[in-house]
Amino acid sequence: MKWLRQGRAVAERLERLLLSLLLLALAGLALLQIVQRNLLGSGFVWSDELLRLLVLWLCLAGAMRASRHGSHIRMDLLARWLPPVGQRVVVRLVQAVTALVCLVLAWHGGRFVRLEAEFASQVLGGWPAWWFQSIVPLAFAVMAWRAVLLMLWPQQAETFEGSADALPLPADRTGEGAP
């Protein structure tokens, strides 16, 4: 289990770095575009496209991060009233199905990317589109993996006790927000 924990720590640090860098790039580029549009009259030809790809990446990076503790948006109408043991059983069941769905999405995402590679679609004036699209199957695969981990260790999931846990509360003020 040690390799699992270490791998996880590295993955988490990489993920944090990726998220911050993506956000920085997005904000920087969006600002640059305004400056260029207003001062120079035109932006890069491809800056619009790059911004849109960055939004896709941010979406999936954020979604992967949310899978770590199962903090995706959800309803918990029934589970809220269950006793703790029942809740853990429910988490296992729900995460198993989630893993399955993510796996199917990752698989067909892989096919989609392969198709694009065969068509040699291009983005940003000449780069192979599939380089940028590979995040789609990768992200769903990571989400499937994390759902499996939560299925095996349901106590890692945020509890149903107060669905506020599922919300990104300022941790330092409540002292009990998302880790």
Binding site: A30, L31, R65, D76, L78, P168
Partner: protein, 424 residues
């Protein structure tokens, strides 16, 4: 088997399966039944990378998170107090105004209850407001500014309508304008009731010019923010995504570089939490693009329209029915999922009854806002229960007068389209 899968999905949803997985599974199942290659789900999902407006969502969200982590909420309350505190029920008005402003910037994700409620609730109690009223007020405040620019749900509604391509184009700017009067109406009703309720109370402080000057000076850096954002958008100087980029840059410079209230090492953490929210919303949006296509291919909106039309013959009757349905929906589902899943279904029906898409958007969001407070499962009730350590039942009791007033404003918003369309 055809019905078993949807049934199982409904049950799993109620048990807390992440909504993105439910929507993804539903889309996969629908395309499977239709005999379409399942890669189409991911091709539809990839349209996320083809919508320029989406850029505004991460930028505004991060700006909102930075604001909520800084001292801005405290300064906002101090300033509102200096401005309104001398009125009867002044502090209640402060709470309403500050919350509406703050929610507009942070989206109705419960951040307001956490960031502002923690300041306002003790202040209200100390000022002699009873516990029930104070709790009800901070609970309501969590979704109060939903109709004001630049709230995320307004942006998302416009995006969903644009994607459907069946209505005349609805711009984000039009929705920003349409929300002003309905939002003010809600504030006025709640504020008016608060003043009436506290009419025998003497205002705690006389108006104090020096105090106002101090509060203004403290909030000097944040004061231009609404002007930059709202002025920029409403005047047409900025596109929405540009306004979002400028807002984020401004907030970053002020809170991190000038006032230094957020240390640089906290930034990664704040980015992470903002992106968990953004990622969750966009993931649901992307997969709902696929499920919506499946629904449209299956002719579901037309069938729904025929069904509704055979039962309801007037526009008002339809709107009444719609309100009932949306109130229930808003209590069950979070606002973002409800938007991306249900708007594609009801928009064609509403257009058939001659409802303006912008008006529909305001009705939809007003309902969702009230859904946050509706027992037994409205989200604000649970956040407040968690935050203020009170049983949820106490919050049901505390928030019902607010709920009634918001329902009254909902009726007005629904039956007076001019409220929404007057400023367009």
């Amino acid at each position: 088997m055809t019905w078993l899968v949807p049934l199982a999905l409904v049950l799993l949803t109620l048990l807390g399966m992440p909504l993105f997985a439910v929507i993804g599974a539903a889309a996969l199942w629908a395309f499977h039944l239709a005999g379409v290659d399942l890669a189409v789900v991911l091709i539809e999902f990839y349209r996320i990378a083809e919508m320029p407006v989406l850029l505004a969502i991460p930028l505004f969200t991060l700006a909102g998170y930075l604001l909520s982590e800084s001292g801005a909420p405290a300064r906002l309350v101090a300033l509102s107090q200096a401005l309104l505190g001398w009125l009867p029920a002044g502090l209640a008005l402060v709470a309403l105004a500050a919350s509406a402003f703050f929610t507009a910037f942070t989206g109705a994700s419960g951040v307001t209850i956490v960031a502002l409620g923690a300041l306002l609730y003790p202040a209200l109690r100390q000022d002699g407001y009873d516990e029930s009223y104070s709790l009800g007020l901070v609970t309501t405040s969590g979704s109060l500014g939903l109709l004001f620019a630049p709230s995320l749900p307004l942006i998302l509604y416009a995006i969903v309508v644009q994607q459907l391509n069946i209505a005349p184009a609805v711009s984000v700017e039009a929705l920003f304008r349409a929300g002003i009067l309905p939002g003010l109406l809600m504030l006025a009703l709640l504020g008016g009731w608060s003043v009436w309720r506290e009419r025998h109370r003497r205002p705690p402080l006389p108006f104090d010019a020096a105090r106002l000057r101090r509060a203004l000076r403290a909030a000097l850096w944040e004061l231009p923010l609404p002007l930059v954002v709202l002025g920029g958008i409403y005047s047409g100087c900025f596109a929405v995504s540009e306004a979002a980029a400028v807002t984020l840059a401004y907030v970053f410079v002020v809170e991190v570089l000038v006032l230094r209230e957020i240390p640089l090492r906290r930034l990664a953490d704040i980015c992470e939490r903002a992106l968990v929210l953004v990622g969750g919303i966009l993931l649901i949006l992307g997969l709902s693009l696929a499920s919506t296509t499946a629904l449209i291919d299956g002719g579901v909106p037309e069938r729904l329209f025929t069904l509704v039309q055979s039962q309801v013959d007037s526009r008002l009757g339809f709107l009444l029915l719609l309100n009932l349905f949306l109130l229930l929906l808003g209590a069950l589902l979070d606002i973002f999922s409800a938007l991306v899943l249900v708007v594609p279904l009801i928009l064609p029906v509403a257009l058939g009854y001659g409802v303006d898409p912008v008006h529909l958007g305001i009705i939809f969001l007003a309902n969702m806002q009230i859904g946050y407070l509706t027992p037994p499962v409205g989200m604000n009730l649970f956040i407040a229960s968690y935050r203020f350590k009170r049983p949820v039942v106490a919050l049901y009791r505390a928030s019902w007068p607010f709920l009634l007033l918001l329902l009254l404003s909902l009726l007005l918003i629904t039956y007076v389209p001019l409220l929404s369309l007057g400023l367009l």
